[in-house]
């Protein structure tokens, strides 16, 4: 195996010091002289026709500088696909969800802007509304968008093999209804931006965006400007997790337009309550799952009918519904598969991407259903998984799923076997099962997630590696670190490939005026694809350096190596110079010599088969097996999760600290979804838009977590890497629910499995004492 000097080291985060010292600046921290504050006015009704908006009182309030409504955007709308551009910056004819934005105000301070919002008078006619996705797609339901009179915003019907025949020939067939919760990301930094519309005709924004180049295109389209006039400067980002920070929000468009109108910079910051009320959240999905098995537990077919609550607009959901379907043939062999999905428009807040995008819903259903069937057949949870799990392809070979996804590496069997040997599972029968009113259980799951996701349009990542004359390096990419640690990993990749030290690399954050265009931070793609671009760019810079030194030393450049910032002749290692000397020689080697390495990811723009579900949704796939130990108070239903063991095949962890923390974070977020988190809704209104009542796990709820790396060295990843974090987000809920089952004897099919649901379940089984 190749020896690495930087890759695999436990290095501190490149941005750690600034963040810990409180010096890192986020969008809300930026200000400019003369800056105005923007607040967004919203209508507290879920479905209504707007008859008139009177802003005159607000405009007369001293300190108010401008007010915008939908008409100021000239009918422009945006969306993920050409035929789904259904979302206006501000509501035009109708509001389709509670607190949808109707106007934006710019004032000299936040108090006045808030007061002005109160003075905006909207005349409206309340319309019949629909909140349940299954009701929404019935005939006669209130119509949310005229262009989709059946309220079906996205539907796919895929069919691989012959499920009917397979079910008919199966020894056991089971049908169940599962439901996932209305979860949200829970980042600490709500949407914010400082916008400046230069009177000369260009836009500059400092915006909290995990994918700044989405926003760059949105602004160019909305304001009719060429891309060369749009400058998105990315500050530090306080968490992303998909959805809202990939997209633009009402405040973004209003702040830019208000800046154009007033000639002043304009800043907005959503409150956390505003974020939790209106921002994009995870879809709640109802999964009708049907699975067939042979007598010895081999899965013969899966049929999933999925109904998703989409909320008021389409957003990124064509991809959501794709991902919800496409990964079902992983991590187990699946010969027959049928997928029918309906994403319903409702008058709930918009649903979009979130960590574990799409896959978490169907994998939860399949994992639990498979265990239920194994139980019926008397097959143990490990055995059922091992019998069905996909083998790791031999080097050079490819495993192809029934829907044409291709795997070059698959560590799922090794991951399961690793967990079987780990004490949590191996000694589970020796650990106490009961202590007072608390029953204990251990559960397992095995899952997969894609890395290097793609969607429509531009897919490539690019990087430049610029060598400074003192041997330090500027790394310039279009990639954004929204907290996952990718800046650190990209710097490590550049250092490893170039042969310098990690601390020699300086990472430049996105500034669309100078950095290369990049799709963004979603679908676990940054390390995999931006990483590939960085590796190529560093190799290019290294080649240029070695060519120059080869001429200088009169040797073949291939005979020179750079390692740990030392440059030496391979067969005569005593002939050596420090890297800074080489940099100086190279930069001064001729008039105007500039060493800039360029690279881009090799991944092209092949279209995904949205209509037939065929093709790779990512470049590679991670595999995760997880065990959980839970204690359930059989009287109160209160769950205490004491342990997680996560065996994760991310190909190769480049920064082990980063990979561990991503696995931990993903699993804890998945645990929240499994037992605590849900938006409680009342006719489209979110009743718990605060972190007091939207219950994410606190640090005192977090179990002991052990992460075990399964090394498979994927040939398509930089230094063998695949994804880390979304995998454990997907593996946590089924593993937690299996542990609760082991403790209570009950299979819970609806997330979150709250204490109250557990007591209800125990009562139904006659296992509750009152």
């Amino acid at each position: 195996m190749k020896e690495y000097t930087v890759i695999g080291q436990r290095v501190p985060r490149i941005d750690g010091r600034e963040k810990v010292m409180g010096q890192a600046k986020y969008a809300a921290d930026y200000s400019l002289p003369g800056m105005l504050f923007c607040k967004v006015a919203r209508l507290p009704v879920a479905h209504a026709r707007i008859l008139n908006i009177d802003t005159s009182k607000a405009e007369r309030l001293p300190g108010v500088k401008a007010v915008v409504t939908a008409k100021d955007f000239n009918g422009w709308t945006w969306g993920f696909m050409a035929n789904t551009r259904d979302e206006p910056p501000l509501a035009m004819d109708k509001v389709r969800y509670y607190m949808e934005a109707v106007a934006g105000v710019a004032a000299i301070d936040e108090d006045i802007a808030e007061e002005a919002c109160d003075l905006i008078k909207v005349d409206y006619e309340e319309l019949p509304a629909v909140f349940d996705p299954e009701e929404a797609i019935q005939e006669g339901a209130p119509v949310v968008h005229d262009y989709r009179p059946n309220n079906v915003s996205v539907e796919y019907h895929w069919n691989f093999g012959d499920v009917e025949k397979a079910f008919a020939e199966s020894h056991l067939v089971r049908e169940d209804r599962f439901r996932t919760s209305r979860a949200t990301k829970g980042y600490l930094e709500p949407p914010a931006s400082l916008a400046w519309y230069d009177p000369a005709g260009s836009i500059t924004v400092w915006a909290a965006k995990q994918s700044p180049y989405f926003h760059y295109r949105h602004l160019a389209a909305c304001f009719g400007l060429p891309l060369s006039k749009i400058r998105v400067i990315q500050p530090f980002i306080g968490g992303g997790f998909g959805g809202t920070k990939n997209d633009s929000v009402a405040g973004d468009f209003c702040a830019v337009l208000l800046s154009r109108m007033t000639g002043k910079p304009v800043k907005f910051i959503y409150t956390q309550e505003e974020e939790l009320t209106v921002s994009k959240r995870r879809h709640s999905m109802i999964v009708y799952n049907k699975m067939g098995m042979s007598k010895d537990g081999l899965i013969t077919a899966i049929q999933s009918r999925v109904i998703a609550d989409g909320g008021g607009y389409t957003a990124v959901s064509p991809l959501t519904m794709y991902l919800t379907g496409c990964c079902t043939p992983l991590p187990y062999r699946l010969p027959n598969y049928k997928y029918d999905c309906y994403r319903a428009f409702t008058n709930n807040p918009i649903c979009a991407a979130m960590r574990g995008h799409g896959v978490t819903h169907t994998r939860f259903a399949c994992e639990i259903q498979m265990e239920m069937m194994a139980e019926e057949l008397g097959i143990d949870p490990v055995e059922i998984r091992m019998r069905n799990a996909i083998d790791n392809p031999k080097p050079g070979e490819i495993y192809r799923t029934i829907n044409d996804m291709t795997l070059k590496t698959c560590g799922i069997k090794e991951a399961i076997q690793t967990l079987v040997r780990d004490p949590l599972w191996a000694q589970k029968d020796e650990a106490p099962k009961q202590d007072g009113s608390v029953s204990y259980g251990v559960g397992m799951s095995a899952t997969s997630y894609l890395g290097g996701a793609r969607q429509l349009g531009h897919q490539s990542c690019a990087a430049t590696v610029r060598i400074c004359e003192d041997g330090t390096v500027n790394l310039i990419t279009g990639a954004t670190d929204c907290g996952q640690g990718s800046d650190t990993v990209l710097a490590m990749i550049a250092a490893e490939e170039l042969g310098v030290r990690y601390q020699d690399i300086d990472f430049k954050m996105v500034d669309s005026a100078y950095t290369p265009v990049d799709p963004g931070s979603y679908g676990s793609r940054v390390t995999v694809l931006a990483g590939q671009a960085v590796q190529t760019a560093a190799a290019d810079a290294k080649k240029q350096l070695l060519d120059i030194l080869g001429r200088e030393w009169k040797v073949n450049p291939g005979e020179i190596e750079i390692k740990n910032a030392e440059v030496y002749h391979k067969s005569n290692p005593s002939r050596r110079i420090p890297f800074d000397k080489l940099a100086k020689i190279a930069c001064y080697s001729g008039s105007g010599a500039v060493i800039i390495g360029k690279g881009y990811s090799g991944y092209g723009i092949e279209p995904l088969g949205f209509e037939n579900g065929r093709g790779n949704a990512g470049t590679s796939f991670s595999f995760t097996a997880q065990t959980t130990r839970a204690g359930v108070d059989m009287e109160t239903g209160h769950v205490t999760i004491s342990d997680f063991v996560i065996a994760h095949d991310c190909g190769r962890p480049l920064n082990p600290i980063g990979a561990e923390s991503q696995n931990e974070g993903g699993a804890v977020q998945g645990m929240g979804q499994a037992i605590y988190e849900d938006f409680i809704m009342d006719r489209g209104k979110t009743l718990n838009p605060t972190f007091l009542d939207y219950k994410m796990p606190r640090s005192t709820d977090v179990p002991n977590i052990k992460v075990i790396d399964i090394i498979t060295d994927d040939p398509d990843g930089p230094f063998g890497a695949k994804e880390a974090s979304e995998g454990s987000h997907v593996s946590a809920p089924p593993s937690v629910v299996a542990a609760i089952h082991d403790a209570t004897g009950i299979w819970f099919k609806e997330q979150p499995v709250t204490a109250e649901k557990i007591v209800k379940g125990l009562k139904e089984k006659g296992k509750w004492p009152r």
């Binding site: 919203r42 409150t271 956390q272 009743l687 219950k695």
Partner: protein
Amino acid sequence: MSQFYRRLPRLQYFLPKTLDEALSFLKEHKAAARLFAGGTDLVPQLKKRETDIPLYLVDLKGIQGLDAITYDEVAGLKIGPLATISAIATCPFVQDHYPSLFQAASSMASPQVRNRGTFAGNICSAVPSADSAPALLALEASVRLLGRKGEREVPIGQFFTGPRKTVLEADEMLLEIGVPSPKPGSRGVYLKLSPRHSMDLAIVGVAAVGTCEDGMCKDIKIALGAVAPTPIRVPAAEATLEGKRVTPGIIEEASQKAASQCSPIDDHRASQEYRRDMVYILARRALNRVLVQ
């Protein structure tokens, strides 16, 4: 139009140096002035515009001596209006003599809120789920109120009149919480049920304080939080036990009575049924802890 959390409304801030100054200010401005101690409840309410916006905030933190906590065997425990929740949770008298109060104080909110928020403020806010209230009810505490008409003492059981409502007049302030000395051999407990392990609101809170001698229940006080418009005592459950031999059956009966005597609501935090069920479970646990060795 939209009513999210906002910045604080514009207010006049007044920092009296003496109790007299504070009281005469209250007398002059009545409902236009609001007392401000820890602010952990008031500030979010103001930001949310959930309460009438006063013209004045009267900050009590400039007055010396209001944070005292004293104890003696005759007079019992006296808690000043500025004593923080942390001060109660770490006070040796409280830990030694009033375990239910200690458990209530240490289960409240987060360390930051406990350091800032006052115990008296938690009472004056009169939120039905306040953790401090069931313990004080079971301990038969009383509050001393001082106002325009002079001083009065109100048993804690008569202090709360509804959610966020108390008998406090606009020009009155809570001067002291008094808790009688524990009876010899008495024991107490506060049990809180919340979805998460810390920093969470009570779905149900149950306090019990009582004495058991030679297997006989000499006295018992049971109080519930978060299951009625105010924190409540459950006299029928207490009567079931008082003077009786303590058996699993009688504890069962008393717990059932506690569950049937409360009137919880259905809301986004829990259903009525679950809350009632949990009163039964927690009451049973509390009574076993207090009356059974």
